[in-house]
Assembly symmetry: C2
Homo-oligomer: 673 residues x 2
């Protein structure tokens, strides 16, 4: 059954454009015809603009929306958790215990959050492509294209003061300039306990039915006052009934639906297995670290959650790729497109790139360590700042300097013991990946074992102090060259190899961009322009129905209720991750158990969509996305609505919880006004 | 300090033979001179024979000893856990709750245990080497050598009725014939709760100070009656004081101290990182399976414990190898030996073999699944049985048939859900390792994803039933060829590739054996014959002192006490793995808190030594080995007694616990008599 359904879906793709509710659509190319014909819904420009301007991107990786005129922003607890973690201490654990600022004075400033509101989109494809002339080497082409993109961004920033990003769409088929209003004074207003936000833990993650209050509320400030927000979402607590059409406006992080069979094979046989090995390695490492005691458990918790989440997601993605039927269908599609294009050249070019990517895998240089990353950034920045902005590595251009410095000089705590454990593991991984006889490895270890060397490096760095980072940033290239900071010296040791790999990677990316641009043209020719591009962590609109589904012969209803939480708790014997917080037990009698809690819909989403508002035909919020079910995990490569579902918290549950459980009626009253 | 100590140790090795208490000595070549000169102890043949005959090997992987004339056998709880697990059900969990057979009628027969008592050793090197003539290809040489070893074993078995194994020592430098009395009716008498046997869990594993009652008592039967045992260990509850000389008689599983630098580099850069990736993968898999509920947790527990234990051990081993100083010293030693040998040829041959081993890594065919292993054995057996015994793969020879059948037809439970999860993961791993386009992988998956295919395979096999296994074993090659059992068909699909890889592996092993034989001769010439061979899961004697050590500037006393357990529990707030069983709390007042509980000594041990008796100069038992500390984890490659220690349960604690906590005085009275 499952295989057949998959086959049917791809047959559809081959013959027309996309399956029923598939698609993460650009706000400047919404699927108006499909929505009209399939759902009798007419998209007006006003409706779309209101949704777009009400949507918010968390640059830390997630989505959100404005929900009041006085700057309230609603997102997921797990999107906020990075900030909750950074605001926590050994004495006060906001990430697990929650927080409520009863007055504005109690609202806590996030150390390094940047929120973006998309205000305009412009097609700059012609200008970007004009910078690259035929016959240029991949290296020259990559540099010319990057420089032109940098110039466009720079000019836009200078003209408007807005954050300006040139976004590569369709793997290189189109380039759009996105302009964002930036909010950097973001304060925590309210977060529930992790026990309800992540009720059911790792076991329930990516499952349904669910009972999670996975939400947190921030407020954006300007000039030290709550920002005045023109476009925010009203809400509809009685919405999202079975069969309702809903829309999801958010920032899906990445999909890879354009990938050719050769690129998919690289993912299946090389990249994903490696990523999973890495994730499992880090999961065990953090579990072991947490055995040290409750404070260690707290320090490692945010990373551990993220890793477990990724491990479960990647496991599902790889399983999808390992189904032989899927790549088979992609091969048929490839043949069709090649016939339409009259050439197989771009597909062959992409296959060639994959071989080179495999060769690169054993040349790892970037150590996944928070404190080392700071050293690496400082070293690279000093070198990059010698060049004109448009010739620099992307993240070091003037147009990105504000965001870079916010991250680099963040006062968020870094823990020496945790950093030591992680750096030791990364040094061990460097030995494993490059081999113990590699000259660079020998230099890095300096005659010591990874653990001993990590201890020495952590003891020899001042980068835990923000002031030291600022001083090094200011001292520039001479400062770096003369620094006796152990981590800076390590980053200098690795710099040449890092740059060499980065250059090769960017050339390979350029070769792929040129090839995918040709494939996109073939696709447009064969299927018309109504094809949506892969996700790029930029704002998209998805749509679908609130819809139950079949699993193992049973109907899974599209909605759960607040009252159901207590039953779910009892069914698991109040053990482990299935214990509701005290606040819930105390409020049990006050809560209206029939209020809808979590619900599913067929909209096409993926990681990055977490926190996206779910709105109804009238543009009123009915819920907030926080997960996909396990059957949706193939979304990186294909959307399936037979069983695949997006999972959301109902807005009615948020309001009921604020009023009845968290005694936060004054906050609830602001929402939607 | 650590590096210096390591250097000193190896300097010693280079100049004389071995460091102070290093060595896992053969019972037919005990280090009499060293013991006399270093410890003033004279080994008599009578003393050695008594220890040897009192020692017991658990073929499931561990050591033990006879402790009474009526067949009592003392081993570790974690050596017994495989059997405890197999004797458990959803209703009665012996592995976690413990067991006590107050009368002989209550003693529970283990489903598939085989215990071995070593009775004689004979050097057969000349005969084994005579079978191989100069100029033979590695393939022919391997076959000729294997056949000769098989003939020796067969003749010995026929002549004596004893289990007869030709053991390869010094990596191929010597061949000894070991004859064992075999016990296959083994019954569980007493086991404590896992809470005390594994007190402190994964966190405390490989640590010291410790407070673990990691012991279990079995009884061997013959003709349905308790076996009459001539050689068993008396005990000395007041022994094992700081500074005492003690001996460990057990079966260390494997060390690799003979390895050349090239072979160590293969371990460091290829094999061990892969093994660790695999262990972490299985650890996460079993953790996820256990989230399904308490019964799943029980079903997966024994495997999970074993995997966590290995993961921690391998992590320590790899860390040792990644210390650049270690292989550097090995290179110096290599130079010295090459000068002594007048040739570098054997070292070059070994380096060449390592390259071929790397190439083989991506040709995985054996799926790590209990139920699939049965299918694989049945398929291979049917083919092997067509050949004369001495030409067969080792495990299918007549001399091993009894052991093979005991394992193959074991009534121990296999759980369909757990087997399905594990097989699905192994199929996924097959795709990852060989690549999704591999023709064999395509055949194995039969058009389905790994999970779907595993479901189909598990549903299509009858191998969960012992009778089906017996029927297939009896039906021979035709039966296998005509079988419609899904797993048998899968094993047939993989058979050719399995055999091809096995043949290459055996050729590589033979090339290494020939090279290591030459290196061993060079070593004998340079250092005399008083060199012990690497561990081979055969009986060895190690010795050392009960001795405290320094860690992070603190002295770690050599002994803990029963009373200390309660303090250790309190220090961890009675959480997670630090909760003593109810039986201990109830008996708290009755227990003599000053009784020694766990202690450490400098004896040279490794995995497989678990359960080994620790005896004093008079051959009386003072303890039972159950672990090494974290500093001893490099023992695969070198013994260090600066901080490295073997960890044992004191016999006094066993007796006190039986009497005061477990109300098993009638059992305690039998011990030592």
């Amino acid at each position: 059954m499952k295989k057949l359904a998959l086959f049917c879906m791809y047959t559809t793709v081959l013959l027309t454009s996309v399956s029923a509710d598939e698609g993460m659509w650009l706000f400047n190319a919404l699927p108006k015809r499909q929505l009209a014909s399939q759902h009798g819904f007419e998209v007006t420009d006003e409706w779309a603009k209101h949704i777009m301007l009400s949507s918010v991107r968390f640059n830390s990786g997630g989505s959100a929306s404005f929900i009041s005129s006085n700057g309230l922003v609603l997102t997921n607890h797990h999107v906020a958790s990075d900030t909750l973690y950074k605001l926590s201490t050994a004495e006060q654990n906001l990430a697990s215990d929650g927080y409520y600022a009863a007055s504005k004075e109690d609202e806590l400033k996030a150390p390094d959050l940047e929120l973006n509101q998309l205000v305009s989109i412009e097609d700059v494809t012609a200008r970007v492509n004009a910078a690259v002339s035929a016959g240029m080497s991949p290296d020259a082409a990559a540099k010319a294209r990057q420089a032109e993109m940098a110039r466009i961004e720079q000019q836009s920033t200078e003209a408007t003061g807005l954050r300006s990003d040139v976004v590569t769409l369709y793997g290189g088929g189109r380039y759009h300039l996105y302009q964002y209003k930036r909010y950097t004074d973001v304060r925590l207003v309210w977060a529930p306990e992790a026990q309800t936000a992540f009720f059911g833990g790792d076991a329930d993650n990516f499952e349904f039915p669910r009972y999670c209050l996975d939400v947190t509320i921030f407020r954006v400030y300007e000039n030290d006052k709550p920002a005045n927000i023109e476009h925010f979402l009203a809400n509809n607590p009685s919405g999202a009934r079975e069969g309702d059409l809903v829309f999801v406006s958010g920032n899906p992080g990445r999909t890879q639906r354009i990938l050719t069979p050769a690129a998919l094979e690289y993912q299946r046989d090389h990249r994903m297995p490696r990523v999973l090995d890495l994730l499992r390695r880090k999961e065990i490492l953090l579990q072991q670290y947490a055995l040290g005691g409750p404070e260690q458990a707290r320090r490692g918790q945010d990373d551990l959650f993220g890793i477990q989440n990724s491990r479960k997601a990647y496991t599902g993605m790889l399983a999808g790729l390992q189904n032989p039927g899927f790549i088979e269908l992609k091969r048929s599609r490839q043949k069709l497109l090649q016939r339409s294009a009259g050439s197989s050249e771009p597909w062959e070019a992409i296959a060639e790139v994959q071989l080179q990517r495999v060769d690169l895998m054993d040349r790892m240089t970037s150590l996944r360590s928070n404190v080392y990353s700071i050293a690496e950034d400082l070293v690279l920045m000093a070198g990059e700042d010698q060049k004109p902005s448009e010739e620099r590595l992307r993240e070091f251009r003037d147009s990105n300097r504000q965001s870079l410095e916010q991250a680099l000089f963040s006062p968020a705590p870094l823990y020496e013991d945790l950093e030591r454990v992680q750096l030791a593991d990364e040094l061990a991984r460097l030995v494993e990946t490059r081999g113990g006889n590699d000259p660079l490895v020998i230099k890095v270890l300096a005659g010591k074992g990874p653990r001993e060397r990590a201890t020495e490096l952590i003891a020899g760095t001042k980068l835990f102090e923000v002031e030291s980072r600022k001083a090094l940033a200011q001292a520039g290239q001479t400062g770096i060259a003369n620094s006796d900071d152990a981590l800076i010296q390590l980053a200098v040791t690795l710099e040449n190899e890092y740059r060499a790999i980065r250059e090769i990677t960017e050339q390979l990316d350029e070769q792929e961009r040129q090839a995918y641009a040709k494939i996109t043209e073939a696709q447009f020719q064969a299927e018309g322009e109504s094809v949506y591009p892969d996700a790029t962590f930029t704002l998209r609109l998805a749509y679908g129905l609130v819809k139950s589904y079949q699993e193992d012969g049973q109907t899974i209803a599209s909605q759960t209720t607040l009252g159901g939480s207590f039953g779910h708790e009892a069914a698991h014997g109040k053990t482990d991750d299935w214990i509701l917080p005290d606040s819930w037990h105390q409020a049990k009698d006050a809560i209206d158990g029939s209020v809808p809690f979590n619900f599913v819909c067929t909209a096409d989403i993926i990681g990055g969509n977490s926190g996206s508002p779910v709105v109804d035909r009238d543009g009123r919020m009915v819920g907030i996305i926080f997960d996909g079910n396990i059957q949706s995990l193939t979304a990186d490569f294909y959307h399936s609505e037979e069983q695949g579902r997006a999972v959301a918290v109902h807005i009615a549950a948020v309001l009921e919880a604020l009023n009845k459980i968290y005694h936060a009626s004054s906050l609830a009253e602001q929402i939607g006004h």
